[in-house]
């Protein structure tokens, strides 16, 4: 009996081992098959970005005999779950998409993200201030390929119908535009409140207008929003919501998904404005079959607030870029250098995959007059505050987004966003 039991046990063990080793060897053959290729995770699952990266990969492999890229497009939303697991594993991608800021700094603490300061020293300066978002403690942990800036996209036709002759430059002008649009029977502002981050754009920009650049820099660095200007920003949000400028049910509206989304509403002329990133025209393109909105689309920066400490030329924005893991840092940096070259940057702009290149050499490719306006606002900005949810450590950034979303849902007070940031950690 006891012998049989042991045989039985041994069989179970053997079978389990076989299964485990089968999985293990399966995994390693998988990576061997790629033949030392550099795995490249990007978020261009759709055209035009998808094709731009395909072209770039092909051109890079052609110019570098022996180099092999394993290009893996991954849905944007999957990065937050995939990256931490990959950085724990023995087989992380060589190159992966991220937006820099506090999250990248958190990832860098794992020791798996390559410090590429020395490898990029000779050329990173060409990219200007944008590359700062991928640096932490004076070390470069990645390279951006496109910059972003947030502002108001608006419909010129709906503004004209409501008798508004010029884009609002101050908060008072914006408020009277809201009143005029409501009187004309138009939804003044579309908001994708379901996704929370569009709500946060309002709080972010109010803070940028209420706080001095020094306060912004030191508060973000400490992840503590103790200055009174952050409470004033909360009050500004509450005052704006009190005007009821948004579409009905805005807390359940997605930002970019479907024709009923906030971007879709502006594209269809159901709302006059939306505070969104420079990417918004690209989003609208996928949400309507009627391209007539393009001629009516205008852009203006977030209005200034009379008497506030903030510099009106400070912009809210961010960027997209890539980081390298320690595994294949040399090959990765080589690729990143190519992605910021005039050739690829021009392709990004002329295909419409990006609107603000990090390489000034690609500026000539910008043809659309409205995009030119956005670009020039961004390049003239005295300082670009990266969206708080990216700039702050992740826990604090998401706590901020949630607290702002709560304000839009009628919960909280002027100081609740700052308190949420200060107590996250």
């Amino acid at each position: 009996m006891s012998i049989r039991r042991r045989t039985y046990g041994a069989l179970v063990m053997a079978a389990s081992l076989a299964l485990v080793t089968a999985c293990g060897s399966g995994g390693s053959t998988g990576s061997d098959a790629a033949g030392g290729a550099t795995t490249w995770w990007h978020n261009g699952t759709q055209d035009p970005l998808k094709s731009v990266w395909e072209r770039a990969a092909a051109a890079y492999e052609k110019a570098h005999p022996g180099a092999k890229l394993d290009v893996v497009p991954i849905q944007n939303e999957q990065f937050p779950t995939k990256v931490p697991l990959a950085l724990q594993s023995d087989n992380p991608p060589g190159v992966y998409f991220n937006q820099g800021g506090g999250l990248l700094a958190t990832q860098a603490a794992s020791g798996r993200v390559a410090d590429i300061t020395d490898r990029t020293k000779s050329w990173i300066k060409d990219l200007g201030a944008a590359a700062q978002g991928w640096a932490s403690d004076g070390k470069q942990y990645g390279v951006p390929y496109a910059s972003h800036v947030v502002g108001f996209w608006y419909r010129k036709d709906l503004f004209a119908k409501a008798g508004i002759t010029k884009a609002p430059a101050t908060m008072d002008e914006l408020k009277s535009a809201v009143t005029a649009l409501k009187a004309a029977g138009t939804v003044p502002i579309a908001l994708g409140g379901k996704d929370r981050w569009p709500d946060a754009f309002y709080y972010n920009y109010f803070a940028v207008r209420e706080c001095s650049v020094e306060t912004l820099k030191s508060s973000v660095a400490k992840a503590k929003f103790t200055d009174q200007c952050f409470t004033r920003a909360g009050q500004d949000v509450i005052d704006l919501i009190a005007l009821k400028p948004f579409q009905p049910g805005f807390n359940g509206t997605p930002a970019q998904q479907g024709t009923g989304s906030s971007a879709g509403m502006v594209a269809a002329g159901q709302a006059a404005m939306e505070l969104q990133g420079d990417w918004n025209p690209g989003v609208m393109q996928g949400l309507t079959s009627d391209p007539s909105y393009k001629a009516e689309l205008g852009w203006f920066p977030f209005p200034s607030i009379a008497g506030a400490a903030g510099d009106p030329s400070v912009a809210l924005g961010g960027g997209d870029g890539f980081s390298c893991t320690t595994k294949q840092a040399d090959a990765c940096v080589d690729l990143l250098k190519y992605l910021t070259s005039a050739e690829v940057q021009t392709d990004l702009i002329s295909s419409g995959a990006a609107t603000i290149p990090v390489n000034p050499a690609a500026e000539a490719a910008i043809k659309d007059p409205v995009v030119k306006e956005v670009f020039s606002y961004n390049s003239k900005a005295s300082y670009v505050q990266v969206y708080f949810d990216v700039a702050l450590p992740t826990a604090a950034g998401q706590a901020l987004n949630d607290a702002v979303a709560n304000l839009f849902a009628g919960q909280g007070d002027a100081g609740s966003v700052a308190r949420a940031v200060n107590s996250a950690g």
């Binding site: 009996m1 049989r4 039985y8 069989l11 179970v12 079978a15 389990s16 299964l19 485990v20 937050p80 779950t81 931490p84 950085l87 724990q88 999250l103 958190t106 990832q107 603490a109 794992s110 020791g111 798996r112 409140g193 379901k194 996704d195 929370r196 579409q247 009905p248 049910g249 805005f250 807390n251 359940g252 509206t253 997605p254 998904q257 479907g258 009923g260 992740t394 826990a395 998401q398 706590a399 949630d402 979303a405 709560n406 839009f408 849902a409 009628g410 919960q411 996250a424």
Partner: protein, 333 residues
């Protein structure tokens, strides 16, 4: 080892009784020293091992890992080093957002039993009767269940937008007063989600109950009819009691499903607005993967597991005991 006992019992003819009947329990079988033959040992090893290995690797090991991580303040990068004891648990239990999530899960479970069950039962009884186009109607009832939860969620998200298909439909039949902000109203959003979940899962319940109804002998109905019982009396006194085991299993699945509710909510509302539709599972993902508080997220996941586990045990002990006698517990006391 209960599975082994059962396999043994089945093979030697000491079968457990049909569901609902008191099982002919193979009492006193234990300790008689009867052994499995070599051949059946091989069979068992061969058949059980793959499932067992997967179960250990992907269930037991994962649970153990979650328990381990739950004692750390850990952002998911690098090895966890900052041991905090039960701090994550006390923090979760004190967080009004988590309390709200638990409340929403319980509300959902209660709604399922109180609202979904009678609906499902009524539909099943209707579709069990002689009815013109019965097959088609059954198909229609079952179709939503075939759709993946993600597709259901996206489709309803679009239809429930202000001015979307639902609002247009209501206005089209003159019910303008019923138009609401389905997903944006904090007091309404949970009920909206419940309606969508009901739409999706009612077909599954109907199929389950229809299967149960096949087990109701026609003789009993006839006997009841001969004794002058009305249709209602037959249903009430004969059919429903015999459906008991199926209904109890349905309640079990439904409550566990309500406690683990995730995709529908995550896709349609992300738990919002202001956390008014958050569930335990959306809270886990939000804290773990969005805020990178993996230690804390693990603690909440362990709490979610504990809630489901305790419910399953209690339900097993008090409600399912008779139905599954012999199959799961080995014997009836």
């Amino acid at each position: 080892m209960t599975t082994l006992d059962h396999a043994d019992a089945a093979r030697t003819g000491a079968r457990p009784g049909p569901p609902g009947a008191v099982a002919a329990a193979p009492k006193g079988r234990k300790g008689t020293g009867r052994r499995l033959s070599v051949r059946s040992r091989w069979e068992l090893a061969l058949l059980l091992t793959p499932a067992l290995v997967l179960f250990v690797l992907f269930v037991l090991v994962s649970i153990a890992a979650a328990v381990y991580y739950s004692f750390f303040d850990w952002n998911g990068f690098g090895p966890p080093t900052k041991l905090v004891g039960f701090a994550n648990y006390t923090k979760a239990l004190a967080d009004p957002m988590f309390q709200g999530a638990v409340r929403h899960n319980l509300q959902f479970a209660a709604l399922s039993v109180v609202v979904q069950l009678p609906l499902t039962l009524g539909l099943a009884l209707l579709l069990n009767g002689r009815l013109r186009g019965r097959a088609v109607l059954r198909l229609i009832a079952f179709t939503p269940y075939v759709l993946s939860e993600a597709i259901t969620a996206v489709a309803w998200l679009v239809m429930l937008q202000p001015g979307g298909a639902v609002d247009q439909g209501l206005r089209g039949v003159g019910l303008d007063g019923l138009v609401h902000e389905w997903l944006a109203d904090q007091h309404l959003v949970l009920y909206t989600l419940f309606v969508v979940a009901t739409w999706k899962y009612i077909g599954f319940g109907v199929i389950l109950l229809l299967a149960g109804l096949q087990g109701v002998p026609a003789e009993l109905r006839e006997a009841a009819a001969l004794d002058g019982a009305t249709q209602w009396q037959t249903t009430r006194k004969v059919v429903l009691p015999l459906l008991g085991p199926t209904i109890r299993i349905w309640i079990f699945l439904s409550v566990i499903g309500s406690l683990q509710l995730f995709e529908l909510v995550w896709i349609m509302t992300l738990g919002g607005p202001a956390g008014s539709s958050a569930t335990m599972a959306t809270y886990v993902i939000d804290r773990g993967f969005r805020r990178y508080q993996f230690g804390y997220g693990s603690a909440v996941a362990v709490l979610l597991f504990a809630v489901c586990f305790v419910f399953a045990l209690l339900y097993q002990r008090f409600a399912l005991r008779r139905d599954t006698a012999g199959a799961l517990s080995g014997r009836v006391d």
